[in-house]
Amino acid sequence: MDFNFTDEQTMLRDSIAKFVAAEYDFDKRKAILKSADGWSKKAWATFAELGLMAAPLPEEYGGLGGGPVDTLVIMEEFGKGLVVEPWLQTVVIGGGFLKHAGSEAQKQEHIAAIASGERIVAFAYAEPKGRYNLSDVSTTAKKDGAGYVINGHKAVVIGAPQADHLIVTARTAGGQRDAKGVSAFIVAKNAKGVTTRDYATIDGFRASEVYFENVSVGADALIGAADGALPLVEKVVDEAIAGLCAEAVGTFRLMHSLTLEYARQRKQFGVAIGSFQVLQHRMVDMFMATEQSISMAYMATLKLDESDTERAKAVSAAKVQIGKSGRFIGQAAVQIHGGMGVTEEMRVGHYFKRATMIDAQFGNVDHHVKKFTNLSMPQAA
């Protein structure tokens, strides 16, 4: 049992913290969000220089051979800095698909490019009516000679405006919600027939609706086995969720510390508002929720390599904890800031927005309580 970070991981953490303080503070981030593209290519280049892209990728393809704990460290710092660049999508999801199931040629082609910061990948999986069900796929990939033709509409694809490649789930067999028959493809965004509608999200990310109209891809676009990609998708999504949980923890820590600071300094009735017991208890509850969330984020990260069931249970449990805590901590933080809490000019509200949206990504509390329930207490047993 060991909950310590290695020296390398601590250095990684410090280097990101330093970067955020120098290049990604509140005002600089605001300017990045306001820019036409809504993200910073310069920040992206710095991430590559700092080795963040390479960190969790395999050494034989240009990575540094780290693992989920590196992702945890990076995502937590990104949460503290409210970083909007699509690192999770590119490295954890894109890199994850390729490293777990990519062909040798795919690994050669893409992983090194991701590790060096040249490649940006987005994950086109959700569909307008599919909610959080990963097997609800009505986008189709029809066999066409040696390759496939893809048709469909993917919803709220985070990072798609920046991406040059998309990982797409599509149905190659079976009915709309069948577990079998889902396949994963890697598709260049500039492939003929791919169009996007780009927009900002409320928490400052960029996303797209992605439309596939008779997009022809070769057999070499398929990642893993045809028809059998769902377990792979679930695994990679769980890894992404663990990353989101770490990011959430970063936002919680900040919301808590900003609130403490504010409560110490803001005076009403001649005293600091932090002296009111009702607010003290709320801040104590925020503290406890943050600690519980940290524990669950660690637990999920450390169980990513266990059996599918153990992994899925741990990840769903963590996502539930994070979703509930995020709502409580966010609301309490804003409330204790009074009117200032609901303004654009205070940092706390931006963390609140991000923490709230994390619950909406890859399944909210209800979704993961159900999933956990079914894993923990299978109906048949």
Binding site: Y199, I202, G339, V342, A360, N364
Partner: protein, 396 residues
């Protein structure tokens, strides 16, 4: 005790329902958020009701009230909520007007009240200051008497929709040496006076509904003082009680629950069935509906008491806390209901986000959730309301 409407009450309901149907401006129905409304949009329904004589059901008849019973007023609220009419702004009709008809001079009543009734003047509330929020009596804006004028200096903040206001009612310190609550006066200021500057504060959802108001040597005629000099705290407290009583928003929340059900009918759960069939989600709606029912009957009991001659009391604190918690819960559930499509942000014009993706009902869900956090902060925060109940009701 009796919960049924009489035949006259049913006839009244049919009358107001028909009136709303025939007179509510069609173009207002299409506006999706307050942020998209211009000044005229805000006032359109008010002006129509002003002509009909229905803009201020709660006022005494002599000043332009309708003389309706509390049941009729309840019906009026229900019908407006059902038709989703734009709520009339409270600053003139239900804040400053009761102060004016209770404490004002005959001249003040004659001048201001008809203009409030008709919707001619737009009012804003200048209470809060950067250093005086929950501790309102800590306010520092000063009004110094010079001949027949007050010279007003200071800064107000959070002033809702002051960008459109013709008039503001301000709490100013007129006796710097008196105890906190005792040196305050209630003063009406023409927002077009030289020295008044209004600057926007942008909220979390990107909207502009509050402002900073700077007062720099603003000259105000002494006849704009309401009540006695240095006794403004009486007006202020009287007004706050009025402010809170409408704040429960039961009728609107009932409509909100119906909207939420519509949304849950349109959305699909993970299993592909309608979300409204999903056990977890339908249970949450049901629990909210039950909470709302408890609030509704609490409000009715309070209103009945008020009718029996006991003014709006500390019960309004209970209504405020529970009412705002329910309003906030409604926005949480709407956001949950729409899944991924709560994320896209389409408010700020100019950044290319003027189009919509996903279902129409989804696009305001997250902004509304963030915006509605304000309700437990303003009008006396929910912590302050609980303090009031602890002290005034429980005697602690």
């Amino acid at each position: 005790m009796n919960l049924e409407y009489s035949a006259e009450e049913i006839a009244f309901r049919d009358e107001v329902r028909a009136f709303i149907r025939d007179n509510y401006p069609a173009h207002l129905r299409d506006i999706e958020s307050r942020d998209k409304m211009n000044r005229e949009d805000f006032l359109a329904w008010h002006k129509i009701l002003g002509k009909k004589g229905w803009s201020a059901p709660a006022w005494p008849v002599e000043y332009g009230g309708t003389g309706w019973t509390s049941t009729q007023r309840y019906i009026w609220g229900e019908e407006n909520a059902l038709a989703e009419t734009t709520p009339l702004l409270p600053f003139g009709l239900s804040m400053v007007a009761p102060v004016i008809y209770t404490f004002g001079t005959p001249e003040q009543k004659a001048y201001y009240l008809p203009r409030i009734l008709s919707g001619e003047d737009w009012w804003c509330q200048g209470y809060s200051e950067p250093g005086a929020g929950s501790d309102l009596a800590g306010l520092r804006t000063t009004a110094v008497r010079k001949g027949d004028k007050y010279i007003v200096n200071g800064q107000k903040t959070w002033t809702t929709l002051a960008q459109y206001a013709d008039w503001g009612f301000f709490l100013c310190r007129t006796d710097p040496d008196a105890k906190k609550q005792e040196g305050i006066s209630f003063i009406l200021i023409d927002m077009k006076s030289p020295g008044v500057t209004v600057r926007p504060i942008i909220m979390l959802d990107g909207g502009h509904e509050v402002n900073d108001v700077y007062l720099d040597n603003v000259e105000v005629p002494v006849e704009n003082l309401v009540g006695k000099e240095n006794q403004g705290w009486t007006c202020a407290k009287f007004l706050l009680a009025h402010e809170r009583s409408g704040i429960a928003g039961v009728a609107r929340s009932k409509r909100g629950v119906e909207r939420l059900k519509d949304l849950a009918r349109a959305e699909l759960a993970d299993d592909g069935g309608p979300l409204i069939r999903d056990d977890d989600f339908r249970r949450k709606i049901a629990e909210l509906e039950i909470d709302l029912s408890a609030l509704e009957y609490t409000e009715l009991r309070v209103l009945a008491n008020e009718h029996a001659g006991k003014g709006p009391g500390v019960e309004s604190s209970l209504l405020k806390v529970k009412g705002t918690e329910i309003q906030q819960r409604l926005t949480e559930l709407a956001m949950e209901a729409v899944g991924n499509y709560t994320m896209p942000y389409f408010r700020s014009a100019g950044d290319g986000n003027d189009f919509a993706v996903g279902p129409d009902y989804a696009k305001m869900t997250a902004p509304s959730y963030f915006n509605m956090r304000k309700t437990s902060i303003f009008g006396g925060s929910n912590e302050i309301q609980r303090n009031i109940i602890a002290k005034m009701v429980l005697g602690l």
